[in-house]
């Protein structure tokens, strides 16, 4: 269906993993900030 090249990683699944991984990192950082500055 999508015959164009996937930029940077070659596969869309890597992009999806990046987005979800970044969300997890954000949550972890926010949890640390909440704990540290409470």
């Amino acid at each position: 269906m999508d015959k164009e090249r996937v930029p940077l990683f070659g596969k869309w699944s890597y992009w999806y993993a990046l987005v979800i991984g970044f969300l997890v990192v954000c949550m972890a950082v926010f949890y640390f900030l909440t704990k540290h500055f409470s």
Partner: protein, 586 residues
């Protein structure tokens, strides 16, 4: 506002209108008017998506929200990146393959005409009304703080954007949104820099975080199991899960996911943005980038609220941020009591600030967290309690039926800081930021309302075929009519006051879940037919509306974010059962 602020404001707004007219001048047909000839690169898709989602209220309300309730509002966006991934896998490829103008066109191909028409109608009703409210909400705040006439503020907020949206369509919307977002980010960055710059020497960003943390404003992660008040994940807490708590990890991830999936996947104002992309790849990239940048962006906007909170630890905080409401009290039976209270409040604030500024024996100014703990425990905490008591009294007076005021000043905090402490020129720029944020969102919505009206209704039900020129002219006319409708709704809606902002969110949640449910069945339940999904949608929509009434009366303790989940799952399950029943009958 000073003359220089007016010059900055008029030049910025005028520049955007001129830029929109210039960029949209080549648009001459339906493809150009609604899809920008499918020529937009991913970064413009990204800015378009962000500009459509971020309304004026985002920039006015979010800092105030952090100031009063802490930063836990950021959790509202936790489901968004997950929704972006699902959209890229499922929705977007189908929309591109079918080369649709509106998301609802797909529903006719998958189900039938009545399902398409119902879904498009629900979108038009919900979006038309909520856009009117979105115009009114920032207009009330600006007119209240700056003394502007509300009718004219509504007209400027919602009326001027019609000029370039009618003229240039999606292309004008895309290019102006790009410029608007750049100006908005620049304005907010400058505001943040000035907050830090105006803090006493020696107080930096880390100290701001300590101040915010000590005051419970850094409650970024909350589990929903804390007792009411949301003290943050670190606070422990007790009791069961609070289903009425709007912003916590669970409601953010699950409720936020359904809301984002519905908003970005089925709301034409968003679908229309990524359909303008030059390819499927560019659409996907724009959406995935949105999944990456949205949470940090919202975090920074909320952090600005914490910065303003820290600022007011060293400067006199108004007893109530909405000056119009204070004036209301000055003309009420509380006039004398207010004068006495204000005198005491001013003296207490002077004492509190003096104590804080001289807290350190070396002469340096230290924030709460590292100041002498004994001093914090005894003196400052007592003064803070006293201050909270004064503020609560003012709110109680405003809630009195004889005053009939608005006791919520959350949305006035940031703009009051801007008008009181920012230098001339920058006030104009920040007011322009509010207008531009509103325009970005309204322009995209008007374009989408027009596209649904012409594609899903006029063209679909017209007896004779329209020429390209007729379609283009009619599209412009519908954009104009929707613009006038939204401004008219805004003129009526301002009487509701600050509850408008909540009304926008609740209104969206009433319809989004059901619309999403229809699309989920379309994509994932291949054997379910149009009849089953149509009946399910009507029943579930009625159920969600009843649920909202029960929730507002306190009979069912459920936050509005969960309506999206109920609506979506309701349609999926009910249509499944109906399909089974129909199959057995035949």
């Amino acid at each position: 506002m000073s003359p220089i602020d007016w010059i900055v404001l008029v030049l910025t707004l005028g520049g955007i209108i001129a830029y929109g007219l210039y960029k949209g001048r080549s648009t001459k047909d339906l493809d150009g008017y609604f899809l920008s000839n499918r020529s937009v690169p991913w970064y413009m898709v990204l800015l378009g998506i962000m500009g459509t989602q971020a309304s004026a209220v985002t920039f006015l309300s979010a800092p105030g929200q952090a100031y009063t309730d802490g930063m836990r509002f950021v959790q509202y966006y936790f489901g968004l990146p997950l929704a972006m991934v699902v959209l890229c896998i499922t929705f977007v490829p189908v929309f591109h393959r079918l080369k649709v103008y509106t998301a609802y066109e797909f529903l006719e191909r998958r189900f039938d005409l009545k399902t398409r028409t119902l879904t498009s109608f629900l979108f038009l009703v919900q979006r038309g009304l909520s856009t009117g409210i979105s115009i009114s909400a920032p207009s009330i705040i600006l007119s209240s703080l700056l003394g502007w006439d509300i009718v004219w503020t509504n007209i400027v907020m919602g009326g001027l954007v019609i000029v370039y949206t009618v003229s240039g369509g999606a292309r004008a919307v895309a290019y102006t949104q790009q410029l608007q977002m750049i100006i908005i980010f620049a304005g907010m960055t400058i505001a943040g820099y000035i907050v830090v710059h105006q803090l006493p020497k020696g107080v930096g960003l880390t100290d701001i975080l300590h101040i915010g943390g000590k005051a419970g404003k850094l409650n970024i992660i909350t589990t929903g199991f804390e007792h009411r008040g949301g003290g943050g994940a670190a606070s422990g807490g007790h009791g069961g899960f609070d289903w009425n708590d709007r912003y916590n990890l669970l409601s953010g991830v699950i409720g936020g996911f359904f809301l984002a999936l519905s908003y970005f996947g089925t709301d034409q104002s968003q679908v229309g943005r990524y359909l303008t992309a030059r390819s499927l790849t560019e659409s996907r990239l724009g959406l995935l980038m949105n999944g990456l940048v949205k949470i940090p962006m919202q975090f920074l906007i909320l952090l600005l609220g914490v910065m303003v909170f820290a600022f007011y630890q060293f400067h006199k905080e108004p007893i109530f941020f909405n000056q119009t409401q204070v004036r209301l009290l000055e003309h009420s039976k509380y006039k004398d009591s207010l004068a006495v209270l204000s005198g005491r409040y001013d003296a207490m604030e002077a004492q509190r600030i003096a104590t804080l500024r001289t807290a350190d024996s070396t002469g340096a100014v230290w924030p709460y967290a590292i100041v002498d703990p004994a001093l914090v425990d005894s003196h400052l905490v007592a003064l803070d309690r006293e201050k909270a008591g004064y503020k609560a009294t003012v709110k109680r007076w405003l809630d009195d039926k004889t005053v009939d005021g608005d006791s919520n000043d959350t949305n006035y905090i940031f703009l009051r800081f801007v008008t009181d402490y920012l230098p001339a020129g920058l006030i104009g720029l920040l007011i322009a930021v509010i207008f531009l944020a509103a325009w970005g969102s309204i322009a995209a919505t008007l374009n989408s309302l027009s596209s649904c009206t012409i594609v899903d209704f006029h063209k679909r039900f017209a007896r004779s075929k329209l020429s390209d020129q007729q379609e283009y002219k009619l599209s412009q006319l519908y954009t104009l009519l929707w613009g006038v409708f939204c401004v008219a709704v805004a003129q009526l809606a301002y009487r509701l006051g600050n509850s408008l902002i909540e009304a926008v969110n609740v209104l969206g949640s009433l319809f989004y879940g059901v619309i999403l449910g229809i699309f989920l069945v379309a994509f994932y339940r291949k054997k379910t037919g149009g009849q089953a999904v149509f009946i399910s949608a009507v029943i579930t929509e009625t159920g969600v509306i009843v649920l909202n009434v029960l929730s507002r009366k306190g009979i069912v303790p459920l936050s509005f974010l969960w309506f999206n989940v109920v609506g979506a799952i309701g349609v999926v399950l009910l249509s499944e059962l109906l399909q089974l029943a129909m199959k057995k009958k035949t």
